[in-house]
């Protein structure tokens, strides 16, 4: 940091220093990104004629939102929606319950090494695989129906919650937990009094968030036969019954909004 003489600087232009200082690196990144964009856009073949023809159908679909049809396929919609909700509830409950021990096991400051490795492994596998892929596999193994969907969502919930729970535990205030331990409490008591109060609020918040995600996922699992409203939606699209499809989408959006509202209330209460 040398003191620059004022007279040297007067009259010379000033430019804002760049974010990436090294000009070679900066230009390389910009050129590389530009080249990528050009290549990417060129390799997408878009059949513009088809798109243009489809716009009319698209407009029809948008219009159908103004006259959603809840009635003609009411029983299908109701059955599908109920199945989705049932899957969501059951999978969330089971998922949350199982993710607590696995989350504890995946926290380095609580668990012994072999347990830690195994739990982290489970979490990694669960998070790496997309829900729908898991659903396809489980349908192949367990057959069509909501059971496969329930298992898929439970597995996904475990991966999601355990990781965040473990991170929370690893970041928790050591001193509070140590104080309990110093009083001579057994391991379970230590967890109950020292760890739980610190992570509980966040766990509740995350669980609510996950329930929301689970419901949204449950809407698509039906596409591969794992139960839920996805199948009904797919059929509606195939039959070009846009009014019904719009009705289903509105219901999904409505339930998601309701869940978010509920989640907000519960999180505020718990804090």
């Amino acid at each position: 940091m040398s003191h620059r003489e004022l007279d040297d600087m007067l009259g010379k232009g000033w430019r804002k220093p760049h974010f990436i200082k090294n000009p070679a690196l900066r230009w390389a990144l910009l050129a590389g990104f530009g080249a990528y964009l050009v290549a990417a856009v060129l390799t997408i073949d878009v059949d513009w004629a088809r798109v243009y023809a489809g716009l009319d159908r698209g407009w029809q679909f948008i219009l159908s939102f103004t006259r959603p049809d809840f009635v003609s396929r009411a029983s299908d919609i109701w059955a599908g929606l109920l199945e989705s909700i049932v899957m969501t509830v059951a999978a969330s409950v089971v998922g949350i319950l199982i993710s607590i021990p696995i989350g504890l096991g995946a926290a380095r400051n609580i668990a012994p090494l072999p347990v830690y490795v195994v739990c982290r492994g489970i979490v990694a596998v669960s998070r790496a695989l997309q829900e729908i892929i898991v659903a396809i596999l489980l349908v192949a193994i367990f057959g069509f129906g909501p059971l496969a969907g329930f298992l898929t969502l439970s597995f996904a919930t475990i991966g999601f919650l355990s990781k965040l729970l473990a991170e929370d535990i690893e970041a928790m205030d050591k001193v509070q937990a140590e104080a309990i331990r110093a009083s001579g409490a057994r391991w379970m008591q230590w967890i109950n009094y020292g760890v739980q109060p610190q992570v509980m609020p966040r766990l509740v918040g995350l669980s609510m968030y996950r329930i929301d995600i689970n419901f949204r996922e449950s809407a698509i699992l039906g596409l591969v036969g794992a139960g839920g409203i996805g199948a009904t939606l797919n059929t509606a699209f195939d039959r070009y019954e846009y009014d019904t499809a719009a009705a289903i989408l509105i219901l999904i959006i409505g339930i998601v909004m309701a869940l978010e509202y509920l989640s907000g209330i519960i999180r505020a209460r718990v804090q």
Binding site: I44, D47, A90, A140, G145, L223
Partner: protein, 271 residues
Amino acid sequence: MPVLDKNGAQVWRRRTSRESLVRWFGWLIGVAVFLVCWQRISEATTWFFVWDAPRIAGDIWTRATPPRWEYITQLGRPIWDTLNIATLGTLIALCLAVPVAFLAARNTTPSALFIRPIALLIIVSTRSINSLIWALLLIAIIGPGVFAGVVAIAIRSIGFCAKLLYEAIEEIDHTQVEAISATGASRWQVMAYGIVPQILPAFAGIAVFRWDINIRESTVLGLVGAGGIGLQLSSSLNVLAWPQVSLILVVILVAVVISEWVSAKVRGAII
């Protein structure tokens, strides 16, 4: 944590009797709901298949391993397509999410009564519906292919990014904005100097975060025909070519690991 008066002696209980009753009742209802859900799932499941599941799982495993490594030569183009769907979709979404976020944030919206609710509605509706459903919809309208995938990812990501972005906008330090206004700056200058620099780290973090998630979502869009590696997955599953399926899953896993690493690195560099 109340102190209760019991037969003249002071007793400390964790909750008042009324609280205990409410809790107990709540648990009862919770368990009842869960059992009802489980029963419905059970009814819809062909338990015969479930008992057969371990055998089927083992069968699939033996067929799927080792993966058919040669197949990877046919996966070059699908991988490229998947990358493009994710990247282009994210870029388009970001361009659209920025104005929506500004319209939705309490401190920058031009009209809290009319425009803000509309912006929030856009955000909720695009978030609530999975990209797979958007893909289904778009394929029905503009036909199958990578373009439908790009648009599906873009629409889904708008809601996600705009929500996080508007929350960041609402949390800025308003005295910095005040200071810029006090110099006589125009509305756009206030935005460029007072607001944008404060949300830039959040913006970059959100962009990379969403891109990472989009890579995962793009891999499965092909299952409904929207291009990318999901197409190969779908065709391989249809003919039960398990060694190919396992190879595709390995490729997807590697892609997810790489994108997560990139995302973590970039987000670490931004802070």
